[in-house]
């Protein structure tokens, strides 16, 4: 299979869906000629023109609100929010407006829009350009949330998102834009709410989101050398969440670590751990562990930034302890 970058995969998904559906359009800052600072959208304005690839002023609440209204009245906006950290600026439009439109109208109105943005630290970008804020959005009923872990997922999930009639937020890892993966040339979609079992194992389940899937896989490699067999699962969407696959795996392995780049407290990891406790309690041989970003603003200094995020070594170390029965009472 040919390999393309995550950036190219996103670009292809957008081009294909925009060809298919003339009501779609892209809106955001420097999305046209510049193709975004990450150069993800290069070439799209040449094909679709400035009517459908719309450059905006630096007015995030304004253009997201505009997208909500456009979505409610017959178009399908695909919003480009340059950094995930800017989600704080648009919370009202996304969470009070888009998320609730369908429900508050008693099912009469919809807001079929996609908001593409990113997450991820260790790019030396400082505390306001390094956050992973998907948990904030996942907390709000009415928003679907996708977290692609490779170019393959990025393309398939984005195409599904664009066809979904609900508001969908997609978080791409900004450090993965140049990472390549096999992506079929033939069209495919990845349905929401279906987890991907990346590798099967029998001793412990490692559940990772976005780039933490790679961290989980690398940890599984380390553990394999020591005779510990880890199962690695990528939920792919956190809303909806494929609880069934996760529970089934944990019932088999009896141990689990959830790895996610959001802050450790009040995040996705806690939510998944809680569901496993509720629904697989009698099958567990150890507490379900959460591994997230440290509960600190992401520091600039490389010496500090690198220790704020989960690493394969730290995941493996925790897995080792769980399997050895050393963490019955986690500290």
């Amino acid at each position: 299979m040919r390999e393309i970058t995550l950036s190219q995969a996103v670009n292809e998904a957008l081009a294909e869906e925009m060809r298919r559906d003339p009501t779609t359009f892209i809106i955001g800052e420097d999305v046209a000629e510049a193709g975004t600072p990450f150069k993800i959208l290069s070439g799209l304005v040449e094909e679709f023109g400035t009517k459908r690839v719309v450059d905006t002023p630096i007015s995030e609440p304004g253009f997201v609100g505009l997208a909500v209204g456009a979505a409610m009245t017959g178009t399908r906006p695909i919003v480009d929010l340059m950094f995930g950290d800017f989600i704080f600026l648009i919370m009202d439009q996304l969470c009070n407006q888009a998320a609730k439109t369908h429900y508050m109208s008693g099912g009469k109105m919809t807001a079929p829009m996609v908001l593409r943005t990113n997450l991820g630290a260790t790019r030396r970008s400082g505390a306001q350009h390094s956050q992973s804020l998907h948990a904030l959005v996942a907390h709000i009923p009415g928003l679907k949330v996708a977290m692609p872990s490779s170019a393959y997922e990025a393309k398939g999930l984005l195409k599904t998102a664009i066809r979904d009639n609900n508001p969908v937020v997609i978080f791409e890892d900004k450090l993965m834009y140049q990472d390549k993966a096999g992506v079929p040339e033939k069209e495919y979609l990845i349905p929401f709410g279906i987890a991907n079992v990346k590798r099967t194992g029998s001793d412990i389940t490692l559940i990772g989101t976005s780039s933490m899937v790679q961290v989980a896989e690398a940890a599984a490699d380390i553990l394999a050398l020591e005779g510990i067999s880890a199962e690695v699962i990528d939920p792919r969407t956190i809303v909806p969440l494929d609880e069934g696959t996760l529970i089934k795996s944990v019932k088999k392995t009896s141990r689990a670590i959830i790895i996610d780049e959001g802050h450790q407290s009040y995040g996705i990891t806690g939510e998944i751990a809680s569901r496993l406790n509720e629904k697989a309690f009698y099958y567990l041989d150890a507490p379900v562990l959460r591994m997230g970003a440290m509960d600190v603003p992401i520091p600039f200094s490389p010496a500090l930034e690198d220790i704020t995020v989960p690493t394969p070594e730290r995941v493996a170390a925790n897995a080792r302890k769980l399997c050895a029965g050393e963490m019955i009472h986690a500290t």
């Binding site: 000629e33 905006t56 002023p57 630096i58 306001q128 600039f300 490389p302 500090l304 220790i307």
Partner: protein, 334 residues
């Protein structure tokens, strides 16, 4: 920066303004070099070309006056009185940096000189600047706050919310819009409808447009407005017409798709704020070429020493990572 409110009418003030502009340019040339030689973590935004704005304004301020800065903030930081050593240490994420390496280029702040900080959110400092002016008024201090921001930031809604309040309450704040013609890769005319100064005027705020490449014009206006703001006649708005010489950030090298090399050349050769002021100083007999060259050489060697120091300086200890999340608690996670 002087410690008193003053008019820049004597030679000493003029020479300090010259030196401060050269210090900014020199700082940026070194920072760019650190990036190009892969010694600096991350990206940074160069202030080169806009020196007369930061210097003309900050030379009109007292140490206790406040400024808020932007992602393109090294110039403001230097102009408000910061040292090279702590600045380079911050850019390299070292413990002796102004923010102990936690902030970096986009969050550099120098509380000792009234710099409340750079900001990586466009428009993110507009509320802070207005709040700082609110404090001055509430506590009866005569401090003025200058809010630096770019043309692109005029698209942020918060600007209109805070200008409204500042005007209603006569706050001592000066909104300084550095119009360098671009926000990232987009020309200002493509993102700003109508007139920028007229937007401030709509709130009854006196607004001015000034040549941001003319340090004396900037300084004269800023001195007057700062004095008036201290008397309770604020807020004010200034649009400073200027130009950034480098790309949007240091990695923005191929930029002909959004602006021509000829345009850059024209600004650099015909409107450079340092060359213009230097010519003025020499023609007016305030300094000789040799004296000015000596300043330049001294500043260059200061910068070189500060860079060398910062490169060798140590990183913060890893135990600092969870320090400063909350005040009064050494380790937030403890």
């Amino acid at each position: 920066m002087s410690t008193e409110t003053k008019t820049a009418s004597n030679t000493e003030d003029y020479l300090r303004m010259y030196r401060q502009m050269v210090r900014i340019r020199t700082f940026e040339d070194n920072a760019n070099q650190l990036y190009l030689s892969a010694k600096m973590p991350g990206l940074t935004h160069m202030y080169s070309g806009q020196e007369a704005v930061a210097v003309g304004i900050c030379e009109a301020l007292k140490v206790s006056d406040k400024i808020t800065s932007t992602h393109r903030g090294h110039g403001h930081c230097v102009a408000k009185g910061a040292n090279f050593k702590e600045m380079f240490c911050e850019l390299l994420g070292k413990e002796e940096g102004y923010c102990r390496g936690k902030g970096g280029s986009m969050h550099i702040a120098d509380q000792s000189n009234g710099n409340l900080g750079a900001n990586a959110i466009v428009g993110g400092s507009m509320g802070i600047a207005t709040g700082s002016a609110f404090t001055a008024k509430m506590l009866g201090k005569d401090d003025v706050t200058v809010c630096f921001f770019g043309d692109g930031a005029t698209a942020q809604g918060i600007m209109y919310e805070v200008m409204n309040m500042a005007a209603l309450w006569n706050l001592p704040v000066i909104y300084a819009c550095e119009n360098n013609g671009y926000s990232e890769y987009t020309k200002t005319e493509e993102i700003a409808a109508g007139s920028i100064t007229a937007r401030a005027e709509a709130f009854g705020i006196e607004a001015f447009q000034v040549d941001g490449q003319d340090v004396l014009a900037v300084n004269t206006l800023a001195t007057d407005l700062a004095a008036r703001a201290r008397k309770g006649e604020g807020p004010f708005f200034i649009e400073l017409m200027t130009y950034r010489y480098h790309g949007h950030h240091v990695g923005d090298i191929n930029r002909e798709y959004y602006r021509t090399k000829d345009e850059e050349k024209d600004w650099k050769e015909n409107r450079d704020p340092i060359i213009r002021f230097r010519t003025h100083l020499v023609v007016e007999g305030l300094a000789t070429e040799e004296e000015l060259d000596a300043f330049n050489a001294e500043i260059a060697s200061d910068a070189e020493a500060a860079v060398a120091y910062a490169l060798d300086a140590k990183y913060p200890d890893v135990s600092e990572v969870d320090m400063h999340v909350f005040t009064d608690i050494k380790h937030a996670l403890a």
